[in-house]
């Protein structure tokens, strides 16, 4: 089996090259690259609904200035040379500089890690803490009114888009229109540095309660129902009947025997925990005005900040590829019946 995992690790290399090459080529040819974007910004004013157009800074841009810009952004070279150069720098752990933020890409991405980890980790822990017990409880009480009502609730959460819920919650509880219970967006208060340890905890909960709720609202349904169905399937198995037959109490049968087996499909997701450092959601971050990874990733594509977009791609694809293998390892550990060759 070791051979299998070594092969899997080696396969990361061509997969990674394939992913980055494809994205790199698309980025090279899509209209509105950094050079065009600069020209566009000089030529056209902002779009708006009714007019009142901003001041025009329109000037005819001399060809030599455009050539100079192409050189600056590296677009004077053919795409394969640019890719090779980028790869070479990557091997030296140099992701380049952001076109938009002007800082090294790694610094730009790194500065979002605390937000991602916070969102990802709380979302992850909370959903396991809530969903697994809820799923077990629902499986045991299958068919009851409470089972029905909780299913209704989690599916309701599943069907409401997180950002729409966020907008509604902010209007209701942000203090602009109705009740003032939560701050109107932001990750932390402005006076964060001056707060004591416990104040920091309360402030962080106060600021992040709504975003985290919206971020994971859809997750509840999947994990809860997965736990429930998986457990119910196990409860119908022969070995459970045997366990009951030999006189074990219900608690022991469910939690020791059945639950352990039914957690296998859930445990396999654990391998992807390492991707949490890139967790984020563009829409939720936009609605709650949080400067996180989702927002960074999306705007880097939109604003053609290629070094940042590629930087996120590199990190996320590596994490995903490694995460897949880790998941398989977890699988093997959790279920001794599985053998990879």
């Amino acid at each position: 089996m070791t051979g299998y995992f070594i092969r899997r690790f080696l396969l990361i290399i061509p997969t990674f090259l394939g992913i980055t090459l494809a994205v790199f080529v698309v980025m090279h040819f899509v209209p509105g690259g950094p050079v065009e974007r600069q020209i566009m910004r000089y030529k056209m004013a902002a779009m708006g609904e009714g007019g009142g157009g901003g001041p025009a800074r329109g000037v005819e841009i001399p060809a030599e200035a455009i050539e100079e810009m192409k050189r600056y952004y590296g677009f004077d070279k053919p795409v394969h040379v640019r890719y090779a150069l980028w790869l070479w720098n990557l091997l030296h752990f140099d992701l380049g500089r952001s076109y938009i933020y002007q800082d090294p890409v790694w610094d730009v991405i790194k500065s979002r890690f605390p937000i991602s980890i916070f969102l990802g980790l709380t979302g992850f822990v909370m959903s396991y803490l809530v969903c697994v017990p809820l799923g077990v409880w629902k499986a045991v009480k299958h068919g009851s009114k409470l089972d029905f009502f909780s299913s209704f609730t989690v599916f309701l959460g599943y069907s409401i888009p997180g950002w729409a819920l966020g907008t509604a919650l902010l209007v209701l509880f942000g203090g602009g229109s109705f009740w003032s219970l939560f701050p109107l967006g932001g990750f932390r208060p402005d006076n964060w540095e001056y707060l004591g340890f416990f104040q920091k905890i309360t402030a962080q909960i106060h600021y992040m309660f709504l975003p985290v709720l919206c971020y994971m609202i859809a997750e509840f349904a999947t994990l809860t129902i997965l736990t429930k169905n998986s457990l119910m399937e196990n409860l119908g198995q022969d070995y459970v009947r045997t366990a009951f037959a030999k006189g074990l109490n219900e608690r022991r049968v469910i939690f020791v025997h059945a639950l352990r087996n039914s957690l296998i499909p859930i445990a396999t997701g654990l391998g992807h925990v390492i991707s949490l450092i890139l967790a984020g959601s563009f829409l939720i971050e936009k609605v709650f005005n949080i400067d996180g990874m989702g927002y960074l990733g999306y705007t880097s594509i939109l604003q053609r900040d290629y070094p940042v977009a590629l930087g996120i791609l590199v990190i996320s694809s590596l994490l995903l590829l490694v995460g897949n293998i880790l998941s398989d390892i977890v699988y093997v550990v959790a279920d001794p019946r599985i053998r990879f060759k």
Binding site: A45, A46, G50, G58, V59, E60, Q102, S111, D190
Partner: protein, 663 residues
């Protein structure tokens, strides 16, 4: 969301969050306590405010008078000592003003990649200064860093005499060398700023004749050269720039500060990347007492809070986390701004009509493609756009039909055609152009081919308009295919002239620059602003004449003529424009009578001039009453007139005094 769901959520959240509240809507006490009280009556007479106070006080005694030093009389030089006050001298200093920006600027450089964001334009207006600036009311030049200027008889060489009192924020005097160094920076290719490069490479290298006199020669005869050099080039200190070239500036000065000459500065501690940015008022601004500053630059701190979502920003404004909000959408103005705090006057709602520059928005027609080469077809398509209906049904009558390429400005030609919706007239024109037969589907045909048009657009927000137009065209037998593309794709297609019709919107400056969009030499090449293929010999003549017209009145007359030519050629199916700036703000401010300047927008701008950030001030009495009203839900404050037509009336009066100056 249904009521039940809402109730459920409400309950859920209430249970979960009780006790979490730290701030209440009325919690804005003490925020504006810094504004100092007025002590004595203030003169509103401009002559009580010296243009140059102690003009020689800061002059270097070693520089002779004829070289601009001590005792310089300004004979043979121009200057402006007859301008009206821009601000209101009754203004009080102090307080905080908070507005939002939808993105944190990627850099605070004043040139190079990514510098050109609207936040940076506002910062530039407050932190940096240019040699001269434009008086927003009269559009004359006004001394700032340069006290005097000369346009030599060749009209290509300009001389500027630096005000010896002008200082950088570190106390060092501004000199002619600084002007030369700033020009060097802007024309350095390493700066990666094609617009600045294109603008300033039109000059030969400036020459410092003395410590205070600088001479520069343009390569072409164009009044815009004088305008650009004097009013758009920010002046940075030579002593720093001598060791910082363009590339270094781009790399190292993104959030590093070059000494500046304006009334505000940015402290490093006020830069919270991604969150907010403040500029602070200097207590030692060199031109504080001069007439050009009277009543301006009042707030101690102006904070730009980054809010990425417009709806969230609106909520923050309503809560009191922001002081000012610019209303961009007519629906929001008409339907979302009638709540209690607006009705009680806590939040003021104003629609300020003025002569701010107006670009043009419409369907650009590619006249190189058939049948759009035929003016009758273009005119027919124009008459089929039912603007009045759209303005009423979609835009709450907030906008006016645009019948000029300079709508609502001093350049608008009042004799332009109105182009009211008229399908009958349109059909007649189409029939004259040969489109009179119909196929079995009822479509108009010519030589057996149906009339089919493709329209490019780049945002779903246009769709309500486009579908109405599509429907109206279908009724007369024309097929309009709507093609939604990204902004980038549309830009590319339009620049390469691969389109029939495209929704386009252009911005405008105080002084129009028609050549780029209308000169025939740009009609048949890629990547120009002449996207419709406009060719007209008279237009070319006007463009060439315009460049040489240093006199504003002459230029206004030329642009009016040109506006007439452009509208009579039907190259754009023009849409509509907003004749006013719609703004809302908390009721605690004093402001000049017109709220904004005559040409200004809702925010300060390096070219358009001061906005509320510089014109307004905290009025302690109002601020106090606002705090009381926040606590007392029964208390009502003065709601005031929603519409301010101060500048329109001003223009009317001006018209009576000297006809021809204004619209």
């Amino acid at each position: 969301m249904s009521q039940k769901q809402l109730l459920l959520l409400l309950l859920l959240a209430l249970v979960l969050t009780s006790g979490c509240s730290t701030s209440t809507p009325g919690d804005n006490s003490g925020r504006d306590s810094t504004a100092s009280a007025r002590t004595s009556p203030v003169s509103l007479n401009k002559d009580d405010y010296a243009v140059f106070q102690n003009p020689d006080a800061g002059a270097d005694p070693s520089v002779p008078a004829e070289m601009g030093g001590k005792g310089f009389k300004g004979e043979g030089w121009e200057t402006n000592t007859n301008f009206d006050l821009i601000g209101d001298p009754r203004a009080l200093k102090g307080g905080l003003y908070r507005e939002y920006t939808s993105d944190f600027p990627g850099t605070l450089r004043m040139g190079g990649p990514e510098w050109n964001s609207s936040t940076n334009y506002t910062i530039a207006a407050m932190v940096y200064k240019t040699l001269l600036r434009i008086v927003p009311n009269t559009l004359n030049y006004l001394s700032v860093l340069a006290s005097h200027w000369q346009i030599l008889p060749d009209k290509m060489t300009f001389r500027f005499r630096i005000n010896p009192n002008a200082r950088f924020n570190d106390g060092e005097p501004v000199t002619a060398d600084d002007v030369v160094a700033s020009w060097n920076l802007y024309t350095d290719k390493g700066l990666q700023d094609p617009a600045a490069y294109a603008t300033f490479i039109k000059f030969e290298k400036p020459v410092a004749e003395s410590k205070y006199i600088v001479r520069v020669k343009g390569k072409t005869l164009d009044w815009k050269n004088f305008l650009n050099f004097s009013t758009t080039m920010l002046i940075f200190p030579a002593r720093v720039l001598n060791s910082v070239d363009g590339a270094t500036y781009v790399r190292d000065y993104n959030f590093k500060y070059l000494p500046s000459t304006g009334p505000y500065i940015i402290n490093e501690s006020d830069i919270q990347k991604g969150k907010s940015l403040s500029v602070r008022r200097r207590k030692d601004y060199w031109a504080e007492k001069a007439r050009l500053s009277a009543g301006l630059n009042n707030f101690d701190e102006i904070r730009f809070v980054v809010v990425r979502d417009e709806n969230l920003a609106f909520e923050q404004f309503k809560k009191g986390d922001l002081d000012f909000f610019y209303v961009n959408r007519s629906r929001q103005w008409a339907e979302e701004l009638n709540f209690d705090r607006v009705q009680r006057g806590l939040i003021q709602k104003r629609k300020v009509f003025n002569n701010k520059p107006e670009g043009h928005q419409g369907f650009a027609i590619n006249t190189r493609r058939q049948p759009f080469g035929d003016i009758r077809v273009r005119k027919a398509l124009t008459l089929l756009l039912n603007r009045d209906l759209m303005l009423e049904k979609l835009f709450f009558n907030e906008y006016l039909p645009m019948n000029s390429y300079f709508a609502g400005t001093i350049y608008e030609n009042p004799d332009n055609p109105r182009n009211l919706y008229d399908p009958q007239a349109a059909l007649k024109l189409l029939a004259e152009a040969g489109w009179k037969d119909r196929d079995e589907q009822g479509r108009l045909t010519k030589g057996g081919k149906p009339l089919e048009i493709e329209l490019l657009y780049d945002g779903k927000s246009f769709e309500p308009i486009l579908t109405v137009y599509q429907d109206d065209l279908r009724k007369v037998g024309i097929n309009l295919n709507l093609r939604l593309v990204t902004f980038e794709t549309q830009f590319k297609l339009v620049n390469e002239r691969h389109f029939d019709l495209a929704v386009l919107k252009w911005g405008a400056g105080i002084f129009p620059d028609p050549e780029q969009e209308w000169h025939s030499r740009l009609a048949d090449v890629n990547d120009t602003n002449n996207v419709t293929g406009f060719k007209d010999p008279r237009m070319d003549q006007i463009c060439e004449k315009y460049a040489k017209a240093f006199d504003l009145k002459e230029r206004i007359a030329l642009i009016k003529e040109l506006d007439g030519i452009m509208t009579s050629q039907y190259h754009y199916i023009l849409h509509w424009y907003a004749p006013a700036e719609r703004i809302v703000y908390w009721n605690k401010y004093g402001h000049p009578a017109g709220y904004l300047t005559r040409t200004g927008e809702h925010t300060s701008d390096i070219l358009l001039g001061p906005g509320p950030e510089q014109l307004w001030w905290v009025e302690p009495e109002k601020s106090q009453r606002l705090n009381q009203a926040m606590a007392d839900a029964a208390m009502k404050l003065d709601v005031g007139e929603t519409e301010s037509r101060f500048w329109q009336e001003h223009a009317k009066k001006e018209q009576e005094v000297s006809p021809g100056r204004s619209q």
